[in-house]
């Protein structure tokens, strides 16, 4: 089947989509379906694997191979599949509870190995499917069903966790901007190795408008830092605000061009390819403005390639295995 003839519709499954009306997941689904014909992979080689949670229903709605697994384990299932068949384009769909709480271990280890999975983490900062409990990404003080007096746990920043695990590709996007999502997913699909994308996604029922400070149209200019590789990190209505490195405080700070003698020369230029992740961490950790786009993209060998190269190497060295020889072993004796 020729890839060129495929359209978004070919990726829409016959299953009725059952997210709540107004859920951010709809626009993510639509964007993923739009991007699929463009990634240059035949449909039968695309697989979506999810864990448990609202977002994890995703594979049912994609007319590709799919596996809706168990809570938190999607990266582990996907790792096995990718090792079994490295030709596949394997996408992991997870959420802030599924990926960073119960599945945190698999999340960091998939990233550590740099196995070629595309991990899309739908971060709505709440447990939706269990009807509203705080999650590892919830803001401190979140009042939810299990925390009527406010949550006490410190908050995970998904991008920081990914950097800590040694991620080679990290991006962040928002459910209110399909164009940005599509560009970001396309970049993720092109990356060699684990590509991690955090999607700031709205839960209309249990945590409505939690990302509004970033995503609301009124805040767009001042609270979104759209990263472009090789360009200074400028934002704001007239692109007059920027990000500067403050070496004294080991941090980045927002400055305004023209104020206190600040010029464009003072503004950090985004380099997604730099091997040292320190600045990527600082940028990803910004609260407002939130860094959007590709934060980090570096190339190292992919795990699945190394696994199969090692097998190939051993087969060249020893020759293909001979079962009867193996059964016999090295030390035998004969009874006559």
């Amino acid at each position: 089947m020729s890839q060129g003839t495929l359209t978004k519709k070919d990726f829409v499954s016959n299953q009725e989509v059952r997210w709540c009306p107004g859920c951010g997941d709809y626009s993510v689904l639509s964007s993923v379906q739009s991007v699929m014909p463009e990634i240059g992979v035949p449909k039968e080689k695309i697989v979506f694997i999810s864990g448990i949670g609202c977002s994890s229903r995703f594979p049912h709605y994609m007319n590709t191979y799919g596996f809706h697994t168990i809570h938190g384990r999607a990266p582990a299932v996907a790792t096995g599949l990718k090792l079994a068949n490295p030709d596949l384009s394997v996408w992991v769909i997870t959420g802030d509870g599924d990926g960073l709480s119960i599945g945190g271990n698999h999340f960091i280890h998939a990233i550590r190995r740099n196995i070629g999975l595309k991990i899309l983490l739908f971060n709505n900062k709440i447990y939706g499917l269990t009807k509203g409990q705080y999650s590892p990404t919830s803001n401190v003080g979140t009042k939810a069903k299990s925390t009527p007096y406010g949550s006490l746990d410190r908050t995970f920043n998904a991008v920081s966790v990914a950097i800590g695990a040694g991620a080679t590709f990290i991006a962040r996007t928002i459910d209110t901007d399909p164009k940005h999502m599509q560009e970001t997913f396309k970049r993720a699909s092109e990356h060699n190795g684990t590509a991690f994308v955090e999607i700031l996604q709205n839960c209309v029922i249990f945590n409505d408008k939690i990302h509004a400070p970033v995503t609301a149209p009124a805040n767009r200019d001042d609270n979104q830092l759209r990263l472009i590789h090789g360009k200074p990190m400028l934002f704001g209505k007239d692109n007059k605000k920027g990000i500067r490195l403050n070496a004294q405080t080991y941090s980045v700070e927002v400055v305004e061009i023209g104020v206190d003698g600040i010029t464009e020369q003072d503004i950090l230029v985004h380099d997604e390819n730099v091997p040292n992740p320190s600045l990527h961490f600082l940028i990803g950790d910004l609260n407002l403005p939130a860094a959007l786009g590709v934060i980090r993209s570096v190339e190292i060998p992919k795990y699945e390639d190394e696994v199969h190269d090692q097998i190939k190497h051993i087969q060249e060295l020893k020759g293909k295995g001979n079962l009867n020889k193996l059964l016999k072993g090295n030390e035998t004796w004969t009874i006559e």
Binding site: T69, L81, N85, Q315, G321, L323, L327, G329, N330, E331
Partner: protein
């Protein structure tokens, strides 16, 4: 019948069977010593069985009781099915090794001790207040005191090695001495030393010299008795020695080759299953992928992913690991993917006794998941049987699209026996359910459409036109689409249950050793085979009407099991747990099965079974 015994000065006394136990510090190389003695005895044509018994600590404090590592071998000119109840000869490398074993020794047992290790310091570490070699407490035993440390050092005097390295050759001195006592040939061990330490010529020389010195010491010293154990009437052919864990590995590779599906192992280190991971990792030339996952859950989940991708997927673990994998096993049951889960059982609950054997995970294997979640459970009977039964587990998984639990145990995993080397051509073919796209061009594909056996087809990513979604959520019959319909759920439950029952159609009937009806049937499963067989044979020799049946297929049971059970006046279920198979038998057949149980982390002794027989008939 086979190789001639080596020429020695004295004419050895002929004996039918001998049990030797090598015991020393866990760093003393007792396992190597034991396995060398095993190979040499196999080459000499003896029937044999072994059982290593080692501590959980890698190096417990030197010279203490918890640090004692043992290796027991029984070899004979008549058939041997177990490593033996109690040793005829104990080789004790230090006071702790003596103290740890003395309670199990019969009077008259030969004790070979390293006299040099019985200094005040070492006696104290072992908890001896007085020296047992001199305080009379060993009266009634045949004690052979040998200055192993001193003599080894003397033998290696000329070698440019530090004294620690020299002392590490003490086990080979003892081995040489035992080879002398049992009129053994040194060639096989010599060759092993060359192969093992070939890159370190000095180490090769040291070990060979120590081995020879031990042997020569026997020749020189009048007091060392010698014995001859003739070769046993063994089926002619080429033999090798094999442990249960090794045989499992061979079974997996054979199944991969015969089914044409690449082998994928997802595993996480855990005693006593880790050797399977180690061993399989060596065989990359067979295209095997061994993935050491971040935890037990990831281990099985990666295997489930590989199974979805079309591999022969397996995962290996032990009790605590099974607990962790349980939710994922349910996923494999619901999505009907082929998967083999090996549980090398160890003593529980919780961390329990990691290196000690037990058979207490049977009910967990059969029932231990939430929901109605049937699967197939198999268990091999002997170390070498692990090969066949592992192969069977793969065949069933691939033909019935189901997870299969393979229950071995620490006794089977580490125990070894000679194995008549098979050829792969003798294995049954494996007909996988892999979809053939060419046969499906005209009809719509339904992921859960079934054949007569009720197995579904295996369409794997990459097959164009067969895109489908699997899910842990209950699915509609045939389509697998998410469904909470009450009647559909009941129907799917019945289908999944019936599919596992259908496996009964391809498994062999339960065989009985001994009379086909009579006073008593002993029913066992797993690693107790040799012990029960020995006890039942003994009873029959005394004229008792005792039969023995050993289950390898635990879910579903063989089709004739009830008929077999009802052919005897009494049924005794002997197992290393508190009565789990007995529970299944009573539950399923309303038969008043008697129980013989032992929960000590140790295998049965033949006499324990024999005593139970005597009390019943």
């Amino acid at each position: 019948m086979n190789q001639a015994a080596p020429t020695i000065d004295k004419q050895g006394q002929e004996v039918d069977k001998v049990v030797i136990r090598f015991a020393g510090d866990s760093g003393d190389g007792m396992q190597v010593t034991g396995s060398q003695f095993t190979t040499t005895s196999g080459i000499a044509g003896n029937s044999l069985a072994t059982f290593p018994d080692y501590p959980a600590e890698i190096r417990a404090p030197q010279g203490t009781i918890p640090g004692v590592s043992g290796f027991q071998i029984q070899f004979g000119e008549t058939n041997v099915y177990t490593a033996g109840d109690d040793p005829d000869v104990l080789v004790a490398m230090n006071p702790a090794a003596l103290k740890a074993n003395i309670a199990t020794l019969r009077k008259g047992t030969t004790i070979v001790v390293n006299q040099d290790a019985f200094s005040d310091n070492w006696l104290e570490k072992a908890g001896y207040k007085t020296n047992p070699l001199t305080d009379g407490s060993l009266n009634g035993f045949r004690v052979i005191e040998v200055q192993v440390t001193k003599l080894t050092r003397l033998a290696l005097e000329d070698l440019d090695l530090d004294s620690r390295s020299k002392d590490r050759c003490r086990n080979f001195f003892s081995l040489g001495l035992m080879y002398y006592m049992y009129s053994r040939n040194l060639d096989s061990t010599k060759k092993w030393v060359q192969d093992k330490f070939g890159k370190k010529p000095l180490v090769v020389e040291a070990n060979l010299k120590a081995l020879q010195a031990g042997y020569n010491y026997g020749i020189t010293v009048e007091a060392i008795p010698t014995f001859v154990v003739k070769s046993a009437p063994i089926e002619p052919g080429t033999y090798r020695n094999i442990t249960g864990n090794q045989a499992v590995v061979l079974g997996f590779i054979a199944a991969s080759e015969k089914s044409g599906r690449p082998l994928f192992l997802g595993s996480y280190p855990i005693t006593p299953a880790t050797d399977i991971l180690h061993e399989l990792s060596k065989y990359k030339e067979f295209g095997v992928i061994t993935f050491q996952a971040e935890d037990e859950i990831a281990a099985i989940c990666s295997s489930i992913g590989a199974a979805f991708g079309g591999d022969l997927a397996i995962t290996t673990t032990s009790g605590p690991g099974i607990d962790l994998k349980t939710e994922a096993i349910g996923l494999a049951i619901k999505t009907e993917l082929p998967l083999v889960i090996v549980n090398v059982q160890r003593a529980g609950p919780s961390t329990g006794m990691p290196t000690k054997t037990e058979q207490a995970d049977l009910l967990q294997a059969v029932y231990g998941r939430h929901g109605e979640s049937p699967l197939c459970v198999l268990s091999p009977s002997t170390p070498s049987d692990c090969y066949q039964i592992t192969y069977e587990a793969c065949r069933i998984a691939l033909e019935y699209m189901t997870p299969v639990i393979l229950l071995t145990d620490a006794y089977l995993a580490n125990g070894s026996e000679p194995w008549l080397v098979p050829v792969s051509e003798d294995l049954k073919p494996i007909q996988t359910k892999l979809l053939n796209p060419a046969e499906h061009q005209d009809k719509p594909f339904l992921p859960y459409e079934r054949d007569k056996k009720l197995s579904r087809q295996w369409a794997i990513p990459g097959m164009a036109g067969f895109e489908h979604r699997l899910s842990g959520l209950e699915g509609q019959e045939n389509t697998g689409n998410i469904s909470s319909d009450p009647m559909n759920h009941e129907k799917m439950t019945a289908i999944r249950t019936q599919k596992i029952k259908n496996i009964q159609n391809i498994i062999p009937k339960l065989e009985v050793e001994g009379p086909s009806s009579g006073d008593l049937l002993i029913l066992g499963w797993g690693g107790t085979y040799g012990t029960i067989r020995s006890a039942a044979e003994e009873a029959r020799k005394q004229g008792k009407s005792v039969a023995h049946a050993h289950l390898k297929y635990l879910n579903p049971f063989p089709s004739n099991i009830e008929e077999v059970l009802r052919s005897y006046k009494k049924v005794l279920v002997a197992e290393i747990n508190a009565g789990q198979l007995a529970t299944l038998i009573r539950n399923e057949f309303l038969i008043d099965a008697q129980k013989l149980n032992k929960v000590q982390g140790q295998p049965f002794k033949v006499r324990e079974i024999k005593e139970a027989i005597d009390s019943l008939c």
